[in-house]
């Protein structure tokens, strides 16, 4: 049977590519933001903040592509689910990008002050979160609901580390001998919170992918 609607197919493929591009930009931004924080690299942090504009531009371009497809092609069934998913996913990705910026801003703020503690849990939390971003994007590419579910379930690990970090950093804030320590502890607590939110957005994307592939909603 001949394949029809070639131009439409091309548009859908381009949409897919754009989402992957945006996803990889976010993956990199989150990774580098934590690196900037851990290495106390203020220049890198400023670069990430600057680069977020590209993410925002791409989000608008993708949104525009989706609206055009909806307006002109009247997508249905799997196509409709894919385009709806695209609109949801880019919103989550954009928020993740904002959190990478938030973390970078904290890296700038901390600058080269001595750290109040060696950063161990935050990079570990970031590693799991980055794995979730990669997992949900791979699930999107492969149209793999099982991988999406697995990725969503990983969120529990991130939540657990966040809770532990919360207790630890609150200890610093409450018992700190000086404001520099308590301020930095508060900043690091925010970093943990931003990472936890990034993982939540990755979970959202995983749920969207499940809907895109199966047509059914699952919530994690």
């Amino acid at each position: 049977m001949a394949v029809t609607r070639r131009a439409y197919e091309q548009e859908l493929r381009a949409l897919n590519q754009d989402i992957l591009l945006m996803g990889s930009m976010i993956e990199e931004a989150v990774h580098l933001a934590i690196e900037a924080l851990a290495r106390q690299d203020v220049d890198l942090a400023k670069e990430i903040i600057e680069d977020d504009k590209r993410v925002d531009d791409l989000e608008l371009a993708i949104e525009d592509r989706c609206l055009k497809l909806l307006a002109l092609q009247q997508p249905l069934a799997g196509d409709l689910r894919m385009i709806a998913t695209a609109i949801w996913v880019i919103t989550d990705l954009e928020r993740m990008g904002d959190h990478a910026v938030n973390i970078s801003e904290i890296a700038v703020r901390i600058g080269n002050q001595p750290l109040i503690k060696p950063l161990i849990d935050i990079p570990r939390m970031a590693g799991i979160t980055e794995g979730m971003i990669k997992g949900c994007l791979d699930a999107f590419v492969a149209r793999d609901p099982e991988l999406a579910r697995k990725t969503c379930r990983t969120d529990d690990q991130v939540d657990k580390i966040y809770e532990d970090l919360f207790d630890e950093l609150m200890g610093f804030i409450v018992n700190s001998p000086d404001t520099r320590t308590s301020t930095q502890a508060a900043n690091l607590l925010f970093v943990a919170r931003f990472l936890e939110r990034v993982a939540d957005h990755a979970t959202n994307i995983g749920e969207r992918v499940i809907y895109m592939v199966t047509g059914l909603r699952e919530s994690y």
Binding site: R5, L76, A77, G215, L216, E218, S219, Y220
Partner: protein, 283 residues
């Protein structure tokens, strides 16, 4: 201050999640409606060509059922089996049953005139008779002798109102129907069918010759009419099927491939062939 009921809105799952999958709300099918028409193992042959293959379907009362599929798939042929319009085509043979309100319409003792009064049909192109607007609508009640139930002008007015045409033609009832616009002519044809008080309305691409405004009027009309009638519509316009119908059946090569709630067919069809057709990937 006006007291408002407290509405609890489940927060969307973007907040910190305490882990564990929650059941997300799944789309609920609309409440089951009683069946008006049932076919079982319905086969239709044009000579040796089998145009319908074992069609078994249950069509809900007071619902709009859309039949979609590529040209030649059998959907119009199927529609015509529901009031035995195929009987007039030479060489047609039918096997299986078509049950309307518990009665097999291919069974013995069926009065075809009575059947087609109960199961009316609106065609692709409006086909008003070359007579006045009034006489077009009065035609059916006159030959069926329904005029005794009320005065003929009452029946004509009621039918034209039901077809959302009354306001546009009430001052020109004696003008020729051929002077009406295409959209008005099609609503006149619907009024003509309604005038004989049918139970089922079959519509074979009723909007394909109409502009978008006239199409919108017919679609609004269909949604109003389903309160009193069971409607089955054949359409090539996927958006129309989506807009008006409660259930949709997809036909391909004489088979009913998939049949279900319209929302499901258009959002998450189960069969690959349905998906290929409604997304336009079908050569």
């Amino acid at each position: 201050m006006i007291a408002r009921p407290v509405v609890t809105v489940a927060t969307h799952a973007t907040e910190t999640r305490p882990g564990g999958a929650r059941r997300a709300p799944q789309p609920q099918p609309t409440a089951a409606a009683p069946s008006k028409i049932e076919t079982s193992a319905l086969n239709l042959f044009y000579g040796s060509f089998r145009a319908l293959k074992d069609i078994s379907i249950s069509i809900d009362e007071h619902r709009i059922t859309a039949l979609i599929g590529p040209s030649g798939c059998g959907k119009s042929t199927f529609l015509r089996t529901l009031n035995r319009m195929n009987d007039i085509i030479p060489g047609v043979r039918i096997e299986g049953n078509v049950i309307i309100d518990g009665q097999d319409i291919y069974g013995p003792g069926i009065d075809l005139v009575e059947l087609r009064k109960r199961v009316g049909m609106v065609f692709q192109r409006p086909n008003p008779f070359p007579m006045s607007v009034f006489d077009n609508v009065a035609y059916g009640p006159r030959i069926h002798g329904l005029a005794t139930k009320g005065t003929l002008p009452d029946i004509v007015e009621r039918s034209l109102r039901a077809a959302a045409l009354w306001d546009e033609v009430k001052d020109r009832l004696n003008d020729s129907a051929l002077g009406l616009s295409g959209g008005q002519q099609q609503r006149l044809c619907i009024a003509r069918v309604l005038a004989v008080e049918p139970e089922v309305l079959l519509m074979d691409e009723p909007c394909s010759a109409l502009d978008p405004i006239s199409t919108a009027k017919i679609e609004d009309l269909m949604i109003d009419l389903k309160r009193d009638y069971t409607i089955v519509i054949v359409t090539h316009n996927m958006q129309q099927a989506g807009r008006v119908s409660d259930k949709t059946g997809f036909f391909l090569s004489g088979e009913l491939i998939e049949y279900g709630e319209t929302r499901d067919i258009f959002e998450r069809p189960r069969d690959r062939r349905t998906e290929d057709y409604i997304t336009g990937r079908f050569g």
